[in-house]
Symmetry: C2
Subunit: 341 residues, 2 copies
């Protein structure tokens, strides 16, 4: 598909009786060029709808103005919110974004990483898959001097800028709030032990309890391997059947909280009067169910924006830009699943 002949610098130069380089410089308002010539060229260019051939420019500058974004899943509220932030910041700064999914699989992550490498992106933002435990496949980017920024799901030991959410403080706030509202026997449905997010949330829970001198009972903690509604339901049942059931449940995820609420409704245990519930993630569903779900909001959009800022800084300022780690705060969102004093 040959395009209709696109106007080139050469064409303009010929028509205007100038040199190609003069035209090139004039279009960028180079100080060397007289205002007169600049105007002449720009007017001509505008009139004839001159569009620089980006392919040529990029080739010349060996820059694509494309950045790669690797995320575990696209159809996912949190991740798509991150993407949204990345897009906004990148487009704003004249960069395009190539999005790839790893489908939470290491093998796919490796595949797309290779593809991005071949596409010669100017930089990469990545949120690691659940299966990823080392970063050998990502070192290639650094070897090729393509900057990488890690976001949300990261490997500490991989020396790049990082942007994460403060799970610890989000969890602390949630539990602290529960206790402040008079709940005393707070349980925690946590995530897997090897997942950093889960550990941080658990730490927030534990420290809030300690701070208030409340005991942390073994029985009040369950591990949700899959973080599904079903697990929430099951563990809620287990705990509510304890001799001394909890009066509040802090869940590692909204979906788990949903399962909890469902069990409680079935058993006619009133939320928030008898049992308070707080989730984590701030999914849309939290506003939709009744009672509405209190939760911890993770600033996905800001995460995406910040990661992009760090990446573009790396791209443009190279090694002079340090590998900082940015920790964004999570906000407690108070809805009806916790009683108000």
């Amino acid at each position: 598909m040959a395009e209709k002949h696109q106007l080139t610098l050469k064409d303009i130069a010929r028509e205007l009786g100038l040199a190609v380089s003069t035209v090139s410089r004039a279009l960028k308002s180079h100080p060397d060029i007289s205002d007169e010539t600049i105007k002449l060229v720009k007017d001509y260019a505008k009139e004839h709808h001159y569009v620089p051939n980006l392919l040529a420019v990029n080739f010349r500058k060996s820059k694509t103005f494309n950045i790669g974004l690797v995320i575990p899943e696209l159809v996912h509220q949190f991740f798509s919110t991150i993407i949204s932030g990345v897009l906004q910041e990148a487009n704003d700064k004249g960069y395009n974004v190539l999005i790839c999914q790893s489908n939470e699989k290491l093998s796919d992550e490796k595949k797309v990483a290779q593809a991005l490498l071949n596409s010669r992106v100017d930089g990469v933002i990545i949120s690691l898959s659940n299966e990823t435990e080392d970063y050998s496949h990502l070192k290639e980017f650094l070897d090729a001097e393509i900057p990488v920024v890690q976001v949300d799901k990261i490997i500490e030991g991989f020396d790049t800028p990082k942007v994460v959410v403060n799970d610890y403080s989000g969890a602390y706030q949630a539990v602290d709030y529960l206790i402040g509202q008079g709940y005393q026997k707070v349980a925690h449905l946590r995530g897997r032990l090897i997942v950093q997010h889960s550990n941080e949330r658990h730490r927030g829970y534990a420290e809030a309890m300690e701070q208030h001198k409340l005991p942390i009972k073994e029985d009040y903690i369950r591990i949700c391997d899959l973080q599904t509604e079903k697990e929430g339901y099951t563990y809620a049942r287990e705990m509510m059947n304890l001799p001394e059931p909890p009066d509040a449940i802090f869940c590692v995820t909204d979906l788990v909280a949903l399962g909890v609420m469902e069990y409680l409704r079935e058993k006619n245990i009133k939320v928030p009067e008898e049992v308070g519930v707080i989730g984590f993630s701030n999914w849309q569903l939290g506003e939709i169910i009744r009672p509405t779900l209190s939760t911890v909001h993770q600033p996905g959009f800001e995460l995406g924006v910040k990661a992009t800022e760090l990446l573009l800084d790396k791209i443009n300022n190279g090694s002079s830009s340090p590998n900082i780690k940015v920790v964004l705060d999570a906000d407690l969102i108070i809805r009806d699943s916790v009683r108000k004093l």
Copy 2:
């Protein structure tokens, strides 16, 4: 950031005492080149990790292997599912995808269209914003001989390949099923009159009713301008307070259906025994609420795949590929909000 010097054809040619053109051809196993030379070159290339400079290749071929995708919103289950399909098919065929959001605004749509045009993408897939009523801003693509494919939200008069969901048949199936389960007084909370999706769904509703010789009462139809939960709630109340309330409600969207179910629960009207409810879209929430929501599933992923297939065909076969319109069927998903006979 100068990259560590990348191996080029020239380097290989020099090392091997060959001409650049020979190396180039050898790497593509050109029939002119002797097997011997081919092996020599390929081995050398592999050993030294030769990676062709895509920037140069693209420039030469004036092809970017990038396609643009313009969608109204990214943080949206249906659209992100479409994107997912596009990504899969495009990546599979060696294309990257540049994703842009129009935020349902014509002004943004124009802006990103211009950006894509400048990026010299090889083709564009677009799902129009709600505000878009003409396609003057998109004609530029065709003028520049950049193929366009429309998906889901389309303008009929804009002559490009199109991929859409059969809203009509989805709606028809839903209402037909309701009637088959013994509901007789079926109401419809529809979308706006100027939106094609809404009209098609309404048509499906109307024809199913007619087919079964059931009357379509004015009172049983309401227009949801925003398609929110609140509207569902409000109109459900209005209708259930009619002298002769409906015994089933078919909603233009799951969210509206949710509002309906909420009202019914509040009033202790049993779903599905007293009133049956069907939504449209198959959002995740439908599986989560109780009773689970019957709905019509729109094949977003397939939509994305098909649109990409059509686009790549256009890109590679140009005008010999006709501007067909593909209509994908929507599937009725039966859950607990409709009684089973």
